[in-house]
Symmetry: C2
Subunit: 385 residues, 2 copies
């Protein structure tokens, strides 16, 4: 089943590697060690759901001036061999006595000059998918400082190629189809957990490979939570049903939600919903390369307050691609400069009454002349049941 | 949508905490810091798919003699408040300047006596879901050694309660129903990626909350890979189609596969398939508490070789529960003593021809008097299309 892992031609991955190595060079970073599903998929095309098993570490070592070395459990050898990666070194994992470490130490020795550090992602929104005890052993074996590779990776991954944008457009379109068909397949009285199953089925039928993320919320005057799984509670007249999905096609995510109004909506709900739609529209019109992420946050806050609704705290959008959320954050702290080719979500939320709120979300790619929508734009008047 | 997170009554979680704290006491472990979806769900019942977003770290601090403290992004406050956890401290995340660290440092100070270390999972099959730079800052702020908490956690999680066993039985039954219905819904000529969608839909219709894992393989004399996603290749007469799923119900996984024979099977396939079925049967009859994990590996190897087939290298089964795979491993290196209440998979595989192989898998709970199957036993003659 090897062909599928070649979601892109080798040239796509060579270009990604070139861009990453350029960023490494700018930072005097000789070697970068990657361990997560997203980072390894990004550079190799190695796509599997087997990451669900925490039993084995997987390593990709990226030298600044040579092709990457995959140091992986033998169970993945066949699939990795179907990618553009040539240098694949395997061991029979799990093996607590030496879970790939000696292979990794050897590979590092081949590419590291004396005194140079080993780059690993260390910064916000990163983690290392390997045991801490092994990291400690590694760091002692190579006698080299661990240095921060976060920025080199970020600056590379945050700008998407046209091939990547096409994939995100495709999964956004799939999710759009599923949302459009949902109202005719659900009804008042149906338990929410059934609605979640119907929606996941629609996503698959519409062409998603799998559904990595689905959360939802329901309430009469908005909802109090946007990350919960489904309950057995039945859908009621007057409810707002919000579903938010990260479905996946060829390893790329969408991340947007829709609000479905069950019968009459209250005046407070109607007003908040319209303010969110309008604020989104405002920013989609105004956003340009050169803006900082925090500028977009402020634009959204201004647009919401201008309409007399109270914005929710927290970030109001973020990057999107091979994970459900990526940097930057549309938040006051984030001064990242927006660049052409970034794929982003815009996600304003505002309170309806007390702690009940509504959230809208759209996905787009930033072009030289502004936003190009990837999600089909939510209808101004919302979806109705 | 808070009710659903209470998959179990508070007494279940209190019992888990008691058992973990007992293990901590035995090891002079004053404080344990947990960061992963599985560990946090295990002790709190906090169940969400929002972990798909890598943007925010989440912390659960477990003192040896006090209830756990949840230090989490405010976006999760509502859901965490629906669990049995009382001490919930939140911050507006992401916040690169202080992503929960000062809250975490304060909480540690409340519970740590001078000189005591901070336990974190460090060993095989673990990782820390937090940025390395924050771990470094944390370790400097608290001026305490980081010590290994892996064993305390393992010894606690590896023995399942009856409530947990029920959940795993339920998802195994759901997957069994989906497998049983699959042959009537697929046909020769259908692309494998369509078959994957049909199967995921059947899992949902049969009652799975979601499908976290699905891999499969197909071939005329077995397959060369068991972790790949679907290709566009059509199913052919003479193929063996293997599907392996980790579907989820209330946070608990099944993990078993089925082989579907498309028309006539070759003599080599038939013989290998029968040897795997018989080896599985052998071990299901013989396995008892007190065996070591490596003993079961040897039993499987012996049973396969006795039947004249060549076993594949690697582990031949593992623990199962709130992740797709858990320790122990049925592998030569693993001397873990098997205990009553462990939920395990048995997963023998053997070569058919060259590098092509077949794999069988069943799930069971170990009782005082032996294995109690949780997956419906695969028919001796296999599934046929």
């Amino acid at each position: 089943m090897a062909e599928r892992s070649q979601v892109f031609p080798a040239a796509e991955f060579r270009d990604r590697l070139d861009r990453l190595q350029h960023q490494m060079m700018l930072r005097d970073l000789e070697l970068l060690l990657l361990t997560t599903p997203a980072d390894i998929f990004y550079l190799t095309g190695f796509l599997t759901r087997f990451w669900e098993s925490p039993a084995r570490p997987w390593y990709l070592l990226v030298p600044v001036a040579a092709p990457p070395v995959a140091i992986i459990p033998s169970i993945g050898a066949n699939l990795m061999a179907s990618t553009w990666i040539d240098d694949i070194r395997t061991w029979e994992a799990p093996n607590p006595a030496d879970d790939g470490l000696s292979l990794l130490v050897d590979a590092i020795a081949e590419y590291r000059s004396s005194g140079a550090g080993l780059g690993i992602p260390m910064g916000p929104e990163t983690y290392l998918r390997m045991p801490q005890a092994d990291l400690h052993r590694l760091s002692q074996s190579i006698d080299a400082p661990l240095i921060d590779g976060t920025d080199a990776l970020r600056r590379t991954r945050e700008v998407k190629s046209e091939a990547e944008i096409s994939k995100i457009r495709e999964i956004c379109s799939i999710a759009g189809d599923a949302f459009a068909r949902l109202p005719e397949q659900i009804q008042v009285g149906q338990p929410l957990e059934e609605i979640f199953r119907v929606f996941q089925t629609l996503l698959l039928q519409s062409g998603a490979d799998w559904v990595s993320y689905l959360a939802g919320a329901v309430g009469q005057d908005g909802y109090g939570d946007v990350i919960s799984p489904a309950t057995k509670a039945p859908l009621r007249a007057g409810d707002v049903l919000m579903l938010d999905t990260g479905a996946v096609k060829d390893g790329y995510f969408c991340d947007f939600d829709r609000n479905i109004f069950v019968g009459e909506r209250s005046e407070a709900v109607r007003r908040t919903d319209e303010a969110l739609w309008t604020a989104t529209e405002d920013v989609l019109e105004k956003i340009r390369p050169g803006h900082r992420a925090c500028d977009i946050h402020q634009m959204l806050i201004d647009a919401l307050e201008h309409q007399g609704v109270r914005p929710c705290p927290g970030r109001l959008g973020h990057g999107l691609g091979i994970t459900l959320t990526e940097w930057p954050s549309f938040a006051p702290f984030d001064t990242t400069e927006l660049r052409e080719g970034m794929v982003l979500t815009i996600e304003p939320s505002a309170f309806v009454k007390g702690d009940r709120f509504l959230v809208h979300e759209e996905n787009f790619v930033l072009r030289a002349d502004g936003a190009e929508l990837l999600s089909p734009r939510a209808p101004r008047s919302g979806l109705e049941l």
